[in-house]
């Protein structure tokens, strides 16, 4: 009796774990099936090379480039904000700050990542954009700059916390050797600790990038809904994610070409983040082996 009970429990627990595999398979299948339907009507060449994305207009164009461009532009702005600040924080907390300070501020910074993104959207549209318009009067109310900056603030803790973990894990003996030779904390940090923790830092940056690429609400609220192939951060653009939201807000009948576009956009997004996630996972595994 004990044996059957144990067996049943193990099977049930296995099913719980197997759900994660089904989830992945379903995600890929769902995206593929709908995207294949899409590519039966739109040539993949057009999709990859056309410079316009206007599936909701009478004159339909299906070039994903403007959406990709919008996504990469906001991501670039975000990472330009988050990387220097996040890394400085990480180095400061692990190499300079007193223990008590670190213990308070690390979790406090993580609150930044816990705030719902729709709240950041509000902030970008109604606080940051008007503020920036004081300096750039011709800037549009919807733009990639404020959305990107706010997104950068949101992902600071991804970089600061994970990098700090990596820096903190560097053996004390390495630092002491450097101090012993008369290095300042700054020299020790940049010549010894940061190089030793580099793979962990790279992982944190990749995860932050992946998060920024997939971020939706900030850009949906503050960056606009105008797919545009531009690097100008002051004009409205549209990201892949924002497009999916835009279509979902309307009433698009299932099976229509418009319906399928969100899956074509979705699979593009998925490919980007999938590659980034796997790179980071690979680096993490290698790095673990090195220390074990």
């Amino acid at each position: 009796m004990n044996k059957t009970r144990e067996y049943i429990i193990e099977r049930l627990l296995f099913l719980c774990a197997a759900i994660t595999v089904f989830t992945t398979i379903s995600i890929i299948l769902v995206l593929l099936v709908e995207a294949v339907g899409f590519f039966q009507e739109v040539s993949i060449i057009d999709f990859l090379t056309d410079k316009e994305w206007t599936p909701l207009f009478a004159d339909k164009h299906f070039g994903i480039l403007p959406l990709v461009c919008g996504t990469l532009l906001t991501t670039f702005i975000a990472i330009s904000v988050a990387l220097p600040i996040g890394l400085t924080i990480a180095i400061y907390l692990s190499e300079y700050a007193p223990k008590s300070f670190r213990k308070i501020f690390k979790p406090l910074l993580e609150v930044l990542a816990a705030v719902p993104t729709v709240v950041y959207g509000f902030f970008a549209l109604l606080v940051v954009s008007p503020f920036l318009q004081k300096f750039f009067p011709e800037m549009s109310g919807f733009n990639s700059l404020s959305a990107g900056i706010v997104m950068g603030i949101m992902i600071i803790p991804f970089i600061s916390s994970l990098s700090e973990d990596a820096l903190y894990a560097v053996p004390k003996s390495l630092r002491e050797a450097a101090y012993g030779m008369g290095s300042t904390r700054f020299q020790t940090a940049f010549k010894v600790t940061v190089p030793a923790a580099s793979s962990g830092i790279v992982v944190s940056i990749i995860l932050a990038l992946s998060r920024a690429i997939g971020e939706t609400m900030i850009v949906a609220i503050a960056a606009g809904q105008q797919p545009r192939l531009t690097l100008d951060p002051t004009v409205p653009i549209e990201t892949i994610t924002a497009y999916i939201v835009q279509v979902s807000m309307g009433d698009v009948p299932h099976g229509s070409l418009e319906y399928k576009t969100i899956f074509a956009a979705g699979i593009t997004l998925f490919v980007f983040t999938f590659i980034l996630n796997n790179i980071s996972f690979y680096i993490k595994k290698k790095y673990q082996e090195k220390y074990d």
């Binding site: 144990e6 595999v21 400085t88 609150v111 705030v115 719902p116």
Partner: protein, 285 residues
């Protein structure tokens, strides 16, 4: 200037930068909450909590939104908690090291990085269409459950790992079966860590907007949901809807609703941190 003084100067400068950068995030957060507070506090009232949505900002309330959020909170917990903890237990205690457990691990790491809106697309096809649940609370909760499953699994595994192996061995040596050892010793000893992870992940689910929009949650729901099959809206979607309107009255409403949403988020995070600290203190091995 000698080399040594120059080096010390650089060191000091970086120290200043470090403090500034750390405070920057916090200060921005404060400015920002202050801003929303100033905008929204005047609108907070029982009336606001008890009113249905309306075309007139001063009449509109968040009754359907916060009740929807509560529904989602309850249903998502109900689905994701047992599944996530079960999967975590399986991976930590049962799965033999080998290709299968490797695949499971890579897969979970990957799922944790899939953008939330992709989960929305998944939910739209599987739950809304194939399973025929429509834009219901159930479809929304299922979608969010899948979204937070990786977080719960990872934190469950961490919590179980932190329980000394000797506890499990002691139980086995007394004749406990595997499940008896897990149920009576390992789970009680790791519950603090597990609950911390669950609460944090649920708090994340509460703040999600995009996947629910894709699944078909509505911006305008003029009635309070009575069953899991009802259509629904949630606070973040209500906020999104109001933020996108030009009238100032709706912006004020959005700020007030954000105050409610942030309170829920912070309370849940606070509970999680409290649980974690208490557990760490209580169990000294």
């Amino acid at each position: 200037m000698t080399n040594a003084t120059k080096n010390r100067l650089i060191d000091k400068t970086f120290l200043m930068f470090g403090i500034l950068a750390t405070l920057f995030g916090i200060v921005i957060l404060c400015i920002f909450i202050g801003n929303i507070f100033a905008d929204g506090i005047s609108r907070l009232s029982f009336d606001f909590l008890e009113s249905l949505p309306s075309r007139k900002p001063e009449k509109a309330g968040i009754l359907t939104a916060w009740t929807g959020t509560l529904w989602i909170l309850g249903l998502t917990t109900l689905v994701a908690f047992p599944l996530g903890v079960g999967a975590g237990i399986y991976l930590e205690e049962y799965a033999k090291k080998g290709w299968l457990s490797n695949i499971l691990e890579i897969n979970i790491a990957n799922l944790a990085g899939v953008p939330s809106i992709i989960y929305g697309l998944l939910g739209l096809e599987i739950f809304v269409r194939v399973m025929g649940l429509g834009g219901s609370l159930l479809a929304g909760s299922f979608t969010l459950s899948l979204l937070i499953l990786p977080i719960i699994i990872v934190s469950t595994r961490e919590a179980i790992k932190a329980v000394p192996k000797s506890i499990k061995e002691a139980a086995f040596a007394l004749g406990a079966t595997k499940w008896q050892a897990i149920w009576s010793q390992i789970l009680p000893a790791s519950m603090g860590g597990i609950l911390t992870g669950v609460i944090l992940s649920i708090s994340r689910a509460i703040g999600e907007t995009a996947p629910l929009i894709v699944v078909g949650a509505l911006a305008y729901v003029p009635f309070v949901a009575k069953s899991p099959m009802d259509e629904f809206t949630v606070l973040p979607i209500q906020i999104f809807n109001w933020v996108s309107r030009p009238q100032h009255g709706f912006i004020v409403n959005a700020a007030a609703a954000i105050l409610i949403l942030l309170s829920i988020t912070f309370v849940m995070n606070g509970i999680a941190v409290y649980l974690r600290n208490r557990w760490q203190k209580k169990v000294k091995w």
